[in-house]
Assembly symmetry: D2
Homo-oligomer: 354 residues x 4
């Protein structure tokens, strides 16, 4: 590959599912060298330790290191933060000061108004000047700002799927915003690699239920972007469900059309135009509805559209891999944009179907 | 048990999933003797044939017989029809004439207005006088009429879950009917025991998608009962999804409350009162949302209720086993009522969790 | 049912999967009244608490109580111990002394030689006189002794499936014992209701692996009974695997036939004769191999037999529901025998297929 | 990438699971251009047709074409045959004659003795001169011969996993060959994309069973290579099981050690040495047993080794992705070798865990 130098990148919080996806994708990234893995509880262990990810044996030769921000900044140009909410905001300011580009996968830098964050996450914040520089990392909406940013607040998995379904409708003023209902369904990997009884296979397999009804923390995140697109404050109904599968999110979005004369083909045309420059979004043909499996393993989002002439509603279905386009893949997509690289660099283009 | 005589019952269409559930439940029913199994394509085979249900070996000793309505009527007092749509309406009139009680699990006798049936099922009907005598077999709503009926049109699986969630709201006028949206999720056994590529484990496992959007045939069935409850014509949004699991349905129902002052506890009280005499319906306490696994293997329906004060909507979640309360169990519940027996006779009271 | 008195029964350790199965089955048992549920960590909670089993709401109205052996003995005639290994042996002696019949689902009373227990379970024992009275609760082998016992050591799930496959072969001297290899596969519910990372759906689903190779604690239990049947010390190869499903065990057993002239039909005949009086064991016809799903939800064991003329081996496959025939159901089967009731009383006869 | 020319490759039989994996992997292959997709039943459809693989929309722009061998040979340098057994042997001779390199994923060219093929596959063959030039495409054993071959008989999925586990033992004479037992477990994608009732999610999920006991067609294939390695005729016990998951094979192999003094560490050392130059095979450390999930999505094979000192047996567990290392990935690995490229080119190095 000649004399070209790879960009050194690190991950703080590498032992979770976000971390392991980042590791896998960055190992394959042609412009990046993964040089640092950080984590507190697993510090000192090899990443391939039997309690972590032994299947990486021979593929990666890094230890999880205790987190020393100074040292991380010294070694890495790009840092991914894959840590619990409330920790990233303690790490990012110093990393930025040292010149790193920072991509935060937690909720800490998703909100333009920190009082919303504090209200929903019960954490006070004292880094408002840093937060003010953060860009919401949904490239299909904010590509230009991401290109100029040093700090990205990467979207949550549900907001990614839901906003990609809603954005063209809101941006073009096609729906009555307050009628929007998002019924979202996620595989259990969204719950992370933590031992919880309700996430055991014996409990979660062959079962299905809603959770966090009317109070899930992704609600204000979705509303913030919807309000931005609509140009006024928008309130959204959002209900997540746990599905007996590992990966994938489907958001089924309902809303009343302003113009009851719009037909399905009109909307498909509008969506295709809206995402014309977004190679990761595929709009399905009429009558085709996306399966989450199509997206799994790739950074793609598949969107299907239906209009119910009887009720005057549009129904949009949006499918992603919650750990790729909903998390690690999208972070890398943002990094590509920040670095001026091709947006698709190092990202899987086709799902691992079946 | 002495000299008491069991009621002879038969099943036409015993080789599908509805059939096999009926066989299992009727074998355990203390007042019924299963004497007849009918079916065309498998006629001549033992029910325990290796291509059918070998696990019944030693438990049932019946052959699938070719369907001779005359003979069926002669041998059975109660007949369950578990056949494709459009066949039951050819069998029921003669069975009724011969004095049998008939429980039809297909769609043929669910509609009070046959033109609705014809519009959605593309089949002409010439048995309107028979159809006029059929009662919709949802005991929680129509217990008294079922008790006097000779012909029951057993509800579809989605309508059962959805109507149990919606009925108290519509009956009491608590919601604006046209805002009602039903986002329903079902295990793949709802698709029947037919070889279809999209139902293969390799395709359907670890995936999730909507189907029949804005045109599923359970829509008019739900609307018919909703209209009956509301006292005027009601149009409902209904979207079914295929979930990677064998059994279970969850209906998540959204609607605008007429009175924004109603709180969750009010609705829980109203639902508990509505289902006071319905032992198969359990209303969850506040903050508890049902899992389909709770219901699986039993005839129960679990209902959870939430109110979103921000949006003024009620969200009702309703979980059943699609093959029991959604099909075979409910048919037996109806039979129990028709026969004057305890409504819970022979039906499984607790799911086989986990 | 008149003036007849139900036998009061209790469960110590009711919050695990063994416990919840016992509760469900005992609620349906016509001769038993469930009067007591004990447990330390959940003491004071209702059994239907949201952290336990809310789907029992309205079906059972018992609290988990702290364990007071004296009080348990006072209130119960029959006590099921569903507690971790090493605890039952502290409870059973006093319960027996007070006259209770005791069925222990742990490993504590499975071994006739306590030094084997100590060697494999790393626990010293000082209740050898009690242990000497315990009978191994596999009714198909030890029905007569169970009938006269006051203390039952209920078999492990793997030993149940494996011994039902091996017993006819060993008892009749048909195989060379030291060639026996048991490759066993279990659903993850066998791991209990404990939060462990490797049992999360996200980890265990769509995966498969062996564990405890050459050192699983069910090995000496299987060997003890095999030795008893063979009439001399027998050493067995036993390898358990974790399968991505909730319930079910399949044991695939390989052994060299002593007489290479034996054909499949001979062995089927021998197995059928061996289990002639065991209604819970079904021998499959030639060429039919059992699926675990056939057994799930029932107390049945399905056994398939094949002979490989090329290699001179017999292959026996045995399928059970690990939580019913492999645990709670078998304990109730033993109780039925101890009480002089029909062995099948209160037990589910057909699986909940599909 | 300059003026370099990609090698044109085609797939006959592109609509099955082998085909779709080949398409995905070849699209990412840096030296190949996928120029042709052939198939009879789907001829004329776009590969992204809704009945085929709509998730490839925008990623591949090829139609399935009716098979015209002459035209295929004209357009492709490399041809993958992913067709039913008995068809490849009708296509390969002409393709070879025209100078194509041919990789056959069916069983047609796996046997050095065609009478074995005819005995197990019930098909007469008249292409023995062609068959005599075919090399068995297991690179870890036959890398050098593959490099010089024009026709590869790619191994079956079970033989791949099983032979990688057995080869070091047989080659070094460490085991008594006739004691070898392979208990293999596969996800249902191995059954292909064909509508079969027993492969429905509703049937195959949450269930488990053996099939083809003592008569599976992969038996002679395994025996052929084992005999080659052992230097004399070897007979193997092989039993496949269907596991409720989409992808992955685990082969659990049992055999008696010749030298009972060998310990686990000795064998680990021997295996590591044997596979020293095989980057796709990873030998697990002592006490670590592979999970199929580790391999899924990658071309890796993970091997775990245990020795049971009590019984004198070695137990080897081998995990692969049945569709990658067990099928499409291995074919591409062979192509890389045939073309003189790096063996790992274009192949996924890390599984898509979780």
């Amino acid at each position: 590959m000649g004399n070209f130098r790879r960009v050194p990148a690190g991950i703080i919080g590498a032992s979770g599912y976000g971390g392991v996806q980042l590791v896998r994708l960055l190992l394959d990234h042609p412009e990046v060298e993964l040089v640092y893995l950080g984590g507190e509880s697993n510090a000192g262990k090899s990443f391939t330790d039997v309690t972590l990810y032994p299947h990486f044996t021979g593929k990666v030769n890094l230890q999880i290191e205790a987190v020393d921000i100074e040292a991380v900044a010294h070694r890495c140009e790009v840092v991914f933060l894959s840590v619990p909410n409330g920790l990233a905001c303690q790490m990012a300011p110093k990393l930025l000061e040292k010149g790193c580009k920072v991509l935060d996968l937690s909720a800490d830098y998703r909100f333009s108004d920190l009082s919303t964050y504090t209200a929903w996450y019960n954490k006070e914040r004292n880094d408002s000047s840093t937060a003010a520089t953060a860009i919401y990392g949904l490239p299909e909406l904010y590509r230009d700002r991401i290109a100029e940013a040093q700090l990205i607040g990467c979207p949550g998995c549900y907001p990614t799927a839901s906003l990609l379904a809603l954005s063209p409708l809101l941006k073009q003023g096609l729906i009555i915003p307050e009628t929007a209902i998002i019924d979202a369904k996620s595989g259990t990997s969204g719950g992370g690699r933590e031992a919880k009884i309700n996430m055991l296979l014996a409990e979660a397999d062959n079962s299905l239920g809603a959770y966090g009804v009317a109070r899930h923390r992704h609600t204000p995140e979705i509303e913030q972007i919807c309000s931005d697109l609509a140009g006024h404050e928008v309130m959204i109904q959002f209900t997540p469900h746990l599905i007996p599968m590992v990966r994938g999110i489907l958001s089924t979005v309902y809303a009343k059309l302003r113009d009851p004369g719009l037909v399905r083909d009109d909307l498909i045309t509008i969506f295709k135009a809206f995402y014309r420059n977004s190679s990761w979004v595929t709009i399905c043909e009429g009558g085709v509805y996306p399966q989450t499996k199509w997206a799994c393993g790739s950074n793609n989002c598949y969107i299907g559209i239906e209009v119910d002439r009887r009720t005057g509603r549009v129904i949009v279905m949006s499918a992603i891999d919650n750990l790729i386009k909903g998390q690690a893949g999208q972070a890398i997509q943002c990094m590509n944009i920040m670095m001026g690289w091709d947006e698709s660099l190092g990202l899987p283009k086709v799902g691992f179907y079946p």
